[in-house]
């Protein structure tokens, strides 16, 4: 169901793959409250005290864990894009960080924005004119078409099979409660609390499995944007070629040969890496090479995984240290190359910045297994079951989490001694949330099941 401006919505507003920062936009009555729950300003003031058009610097937290540093921009209704209270959190770019921040914002009470919803709200609040509205309509219908495609592929896929399975068990329980409640004069057996709780617990476990597979699943199915970085001639291209198993980049001994980012998709362990070999990170006056370097810096901030390559045969220099500083919070593996030569690099310094560190000789084809193990560990895919169904996006994840918390309420309603009617309310919320993935209606589905399963008369 579409929610009309009653809820506070959030989404990543910067397109993925463009821009060095990621902006998470929160809009709605409670935008400031939600933002205050995740953003702690260094000046100690809460955003609710800010005037419109002001900015604050601070950190983003998910519960107690610090995720990133960020700038919060506060807009007060009606002087904002949507015409509502808006907070824009500008954090580091990159899929991983922005999604972490978005998830924290959802936990703090925002709901995922529907396709085109910011624009829609802007229009409804009179922030866009009529000609622009025409364009919005097109955007929305375009998005609904792709949403329909997405729903279709989701319907055929393992996820809907799995959620259908969980859902149909819940519907059976709900139908049983309904039959028992709506037909008291029939001998419909009462559901034992113990059985209910065990049913709910198994639904909960199944939902949990889906959720924990989500991050790992993305690494496995969609791949992770991975950058191979390092100063010129540390062996990035050799490593890349080793990884992809073919001569993909031009390899020479002259520093600065690789000028462009080269895309390659490789499997390492059970993870797909969407690899980019980059121009060496080096201050240069060569204009062609300069373009490549800047692009690299940008990409560093928004990628999902960094493979930072160092020359083990040389001491760390200023450029190496700059690189280490640049890695920041992005997940990274440090590859200390040229282990076949005498080792002069200070490995412990690297390890301070990048705990996951391996020493290899790319030229001799050594150390690949070690790299695979480290990548799997970082992506948390070691125990990943490849045939397990997967949540495709943050929106689905949100629905599944909503279902899980409704199930938690079912369990606590029973444990606290509430009647089955309270349980049924929470249960139907869980079913609704799961059915939303496939677009059916809970009440009708439950009632159909009552009549299919139970012999009830008036």
């Amino acid at each position: 169901m579409i929610v009309l401006s009653s809820s506070t919505i959030a989404a990543i507003s910067t397109a993925q793959g463009a821009g060095g920062i990621g902006v998470i936009r929160i809009s709605g009555d409670k935008a400031l409250t939600v933002a205050d729950r995740v953003f702690k300003g260094v000046n100690g003031r809460s955003l609710s005290e800010y005037k419109g058009y002001t900015a604050g610097f601070g950190h983003i937290y998910d519960e107690n864990e610090r995720i990133d540093e960020a700038v919060a921009l506060v807009f007060r209704a009606p002087h904002s894009y949507t015409g509502e209270d808006v907070v824009e959190l500008s954090c580091h770019g990159g899929v991983y960080i922005t999604k972490q921040v978005l998830r924290a914002v959802f936990s703090a009470g925002a709901v995922p924005a529907e396709a085109g919803e910011f624009t829609k709200r802007a229009f409804l609040n009179g922030k866009l004119d009529l000609t622009e509205a025409e364009a919005v309509m097109n955007i929305i219908s375009a998005q609904s078409r792709s949403a329909a495609r997405a729903a279709l592929s989701c319907k055929e896929g393992g996820l809907s099979k799995k959620t259908d399975e969980i859902c149909s068990a819940l519907i059976d329980t709900s139908a049983h409660i309904s039959a028992w409640v709506d037909f008291p004069e029939e001998d419909v057996p009462e559901l034992e609390n113990g059985r209910l709780i065990s049913d709910f617990n198994s639904a909960r476990a199944a939902l949990n499995a889906l959720i924990s597979d989500y991050d790992a699943g993305k690494a496995v199915t969609q791949g992770i944007d991975t950058l191979i970085v390092g100063k010129p001639n540390v062996g990035k291209s050799t490593l890349m070629n080793l990884l992809s198993g073919c001569e993909r980049s031009i390899v020479t001994d002259i520093p600065g040969t690789t000028r462009d980012i080269i895309e390659e998709t490789v499997n390492i362990g059970n993870v797909i890496l969407r690899l980019s070999d980059t121009a060496g990170l080096r201050e240069t006056d060569n204009i062609v090479e300069k373009i490549g370097v800047e692009r690299t810096r940008k990409r560093l901030e928004e990628c999902g995984l960094i493979i930072a390559v160092f020359d083990g045969s040389k001491p760390l220099d200023r450029e190496d240290m700059e690189l280490l500083e640049l890695v920041g919070g992005t997940p990274a593996v440090a590859v200390v190359n040229k282990s076949d030569k005498e080792q002069l690099a200070d490995v412990e310094t690297i390890r301070k910045y990048i705990p996951s560190l391996i020493e290899i000789s790319a030229k001799n084809g050594e150390g690949l297994t070690l790299l695979a193990e480290n990548v799997e560990k970082i992506c948390e895919t070691q125990n990943f079951n490849p045939s397990a169904p997967l949540i495709a996006n943050e929106r689905q994840l949100f629905r599944i989490k909503t279902a899980r918390s409704a199930i938690d309420e079912c369990i606590s309603a029973i444990e606290e001694g509430f009647g089955l009617d309270a349980v049924a309310v929470a249960l139907n919320d869980a079913i609704d949330s799961l059915l939303e993935l496939t677009g059916k209606n809970a009440a009708d589905t439950v009632i159909d099941t009552v009549f299919e399963t139970f012999c009830v008369g008036k």
């Binding site: 579409i2 009309l4 229009f123 929305i140 009632i447 009552v450 012999c455 008036k458």
Partner: protein, 623 residues
């Protein structure tokens, strides 16, 4: 054409449960009203079970009463036994059910119609309905022609009624009263599509031929609780019911003769209600079940007819005799009336809007089984809403629409006109998404102010209502303000109820909130409790205990109402809104939802389609 017989503001065709509430409401709102019945002795007839209420249906009766309708009051006057069903299953699903004296019910209702100011009760079969300018002309079988501003069709199972008992079938209304054989054709001539539904009823058996000695007794509540907020007390229950079961032999006989069933033999085309299967249906569909429960219910105080609930059938009479006799207690039963199935004409309710008026026919309304529902209570609820809206329209007032969050009545009507039906529709608590709020105990709080605004609630009733609300508020305040000191007496109670003890003072409201406790448990330590209606305690306790769940549903309701508050103007051609998908265009054009919320519940209309409508609406507003 016949002779001019008179003019009415509102004419109601049929004087069953829908027709009665429709006629009374219209007349009470000041419209000159006629109620036509095909047989003066069939007003308010209960041709199936001699009972009013039941799960969700009891909620409907309370809501009808809260709005100033008549069903609850009459059920109280004619009650034989009262039971609050689902006690112990949670307050949302408590439902009142009354065994009633069916003949008395009919007599009392008829008398109320006769006494009602502005209302003429007339025996006549309406054979045609025609539009004449902005009026409707109704013609009777005797050629009388009435001119009416609004017509409410509440024909029940009479319209094209046909009874089936095995190979035997004949045109008939319920209880052998003649059917309305001509009106259906006239309605179809208007361009309204009709369909066939069927329902059924079990046999009536002579009381003295039943051996009750081996049967389980089912008694009423002590003390019995009334339906109506106007009824002060009911007195004692007057009858008991009995329970028996089918067995293997019953099953054998039915299965051996199943080919003689008109339904299984394919003679009946009508769709029966899923919730009210015949005994042969139950046995075929649930073949594993060794036995089915049945209830033996008295039909009244001055009759020996007993109703065999749960055993409706359309098998031939000789088979009926055989299988009824297999049942414990009924071995020698004398069947006074046989079980039968009845098939009738009804409409696809998607043709109606939320006032129950036909979208295409101004001033024409439908109510009850004619709209595809089933059950006395569902019919009465629709009758009330159709009657109110017919009157309001004539008087140029705003339509009266109850949304899903306000009531079961609103849910029922929204389901009918928005989702449509594939079999006779029965109300169930599981049909409401807001059932912790739509309880039978608070129907007055929810609806009486609306009834008052309409003009259906008397001054006296309004005074009593406000008094009760005041007492409720005070009681809340008392619970919040009263601090109970820790004491051995209190802790003894807490221990005995298996909840944690207290060592400091605790507010009464915190104690009531605990699921293990309640007014009953805390009697001894709650010394200053006022002497007020126990219904107030009940409401306060539920609202305190379920506060979290209620708040959650209130939040959902608020969201729902935002969409509900955005009305869609009449006469939109959705085909011209290019952003909508084809399926959505077709469904929207067919159902003509009155607001965005209703549109969002139509199957085939996606959230994206709703977004398009939102933008289209806003754009239109600016133009």
């Amino acid at each position: 054409m016949g002779y001019e017989a008179g003019k009415y503001d509102v004419a109601v065709i049929g004087a069953g449960h829908a027709g009665i509430e429709a006629g009374l409401a219209a007349a009470r709102l000041g419209c000159r009203t006629a109620v036509f019945t095909i047989n003066m002795d069939a007003v308010g007839n209960c041709p199936c079970n001699p009972s009013i209420g039941g799960t969700a249906k009891g909620h409907l009766v309370r809501e009808i009463d809260a709005l100033g309708g008549e069903m609850g009051k009459t059920a109280d006057e004619c009650f034989l036994q009262m039971r609050m069903l689902n006690r112990g299953k949670g307050p949302a699903v408590h439902s009142l059910r009354a065994q009633i004296d069916r003949r008395k019910y009919s007599t009392v209702m008829k008398h109320k119609l006769e006494l009602q100011k502005n209302l003429d009760l007339r025996q006549a079969e309406i054979v045609s309905i025609e539009k004449s300018g902005d009026k409707w002309l109704l013609e009777t079988r005797m050629n009388a022609v009435f001119e009416c501003a609004a017509v409410i069709v509440a024909t029940g199972t009479f319209l094209g009624g046909k009874i089936y008992v095995g190979d035997v079938s004949f045109e008939s209304g319920p209880d052998g009263i003649f059917p309305a054989s001509y009106l259906g054709e006239s309605i179809r001539r208007l361009g309204i599509e009709t369909r066939r539904f069927k329902t059924g009823t079990p046999a009536r058996v002579l009381k003295s031929s039943i051996d009750f000695s081996q049967l389980e007794v089912q008694r009423g509540d002590k003390p019995p609780v009334p339906f109506s907020y106007d009824t002060d007390s009911l007195g004692e229950n007057k009858v008991v019911c009995h329970i028996s079961y089918t067995n293997e032999r019953t099953k054998d006989i039915i299965l051996k003769n199943i080919h003689r069933s008109p339904l299984y033999g394919g003679k009946i085309e009508g769709v029966g209600p899923r919730y009210c299967p015949s005994i042969e249906d139950k046995i075929v569909r649930f073949a594993d079940k060794p036995r089915h429960q049945l209830f033996i219910e008295p039909c009244g105080l001055d009759t020996e007819e007993m109703y065999i609930q749960g055993m409706s059938s359309s098998l031939p009479e000789d088979v009926q005799l055989d299988f009824y006799h297999t049942i414990k207690g009924l071995e020698n039963a004398l069947i006074m009336r046989s079980a039968y199935a009845i098939e009738y004409d009804c409409i696809d309710p998607l043709q109606l809007d939320l006032t129950l008026e036909f979208a295409e026919f101004s001033g024409l309304y439908g109510a009850g089984q004619f709209n595809g529902s089933s059950g006395y209570e569902e019919a009465a609820a629709q009758g009330l809403i159709a009657g109110i809206n017919a009157a309001l329209k004539i008087q140029g007032r705003e339509p009266f629409i109850l949304d899903r969050a306000s009531s079961y009545i609103g849910t029922l009507i929204d389901d009918l006109v928005t989702k449509g039906v594939s079999d006779p529709y029965r109300m169930m608590t599981s049909r409401s998404e807001y059932r912790l709020i739509l309880r039978q105990d608070n129907a007055d709080t929810r609806l009486t102010p609306l009834g008052r605004e309409l003009g259906l609630i008397s001054d006296e009733r309004w005074r009593k209502f406000n008094e009760k609300q005041e007492l409720k508020r005070n009681e809340y305040k008392r619970l919040r303000q009263t601090v109970v000191p820790p004491s051995e007496e209190l802790n003894d109670i807490l221990v005995s109820r298996e909840t944690s003890t207290v060592s400091t003072g605790i507010r009464l409201i915190e104690l009531i909130k605990r699921p293990q406790l309640g007014y009953e448990a805390l009697k001894a330590i709650d010394k200053d409790r006022p002497e007020i209606d126990s219904n107030i305690f009940e409401q306060v306790e539920i609202e305190v205990k379920y506060e979290g769940y209620i708040k959650r549903q209130e939040a959902q309701i608020e969201q729902m109402r935002r969409l509900e508050g955005r009305s869609l103007p009449k006469g939109i051609d959705y085909g011209e809104i290019s952003g909508l998908r084809l399926e959505a265009q077709e469904k929207l054009n067919k159902i003509k939802p009155q607001n965005l919320g209703q549109a969002s519940r139509i199957s085939g209309v996606s959230p994206a389609d709703i977004s398009v409508l939102v933008i289209w609406l806003s754009q239109r507003k600016k133009d």
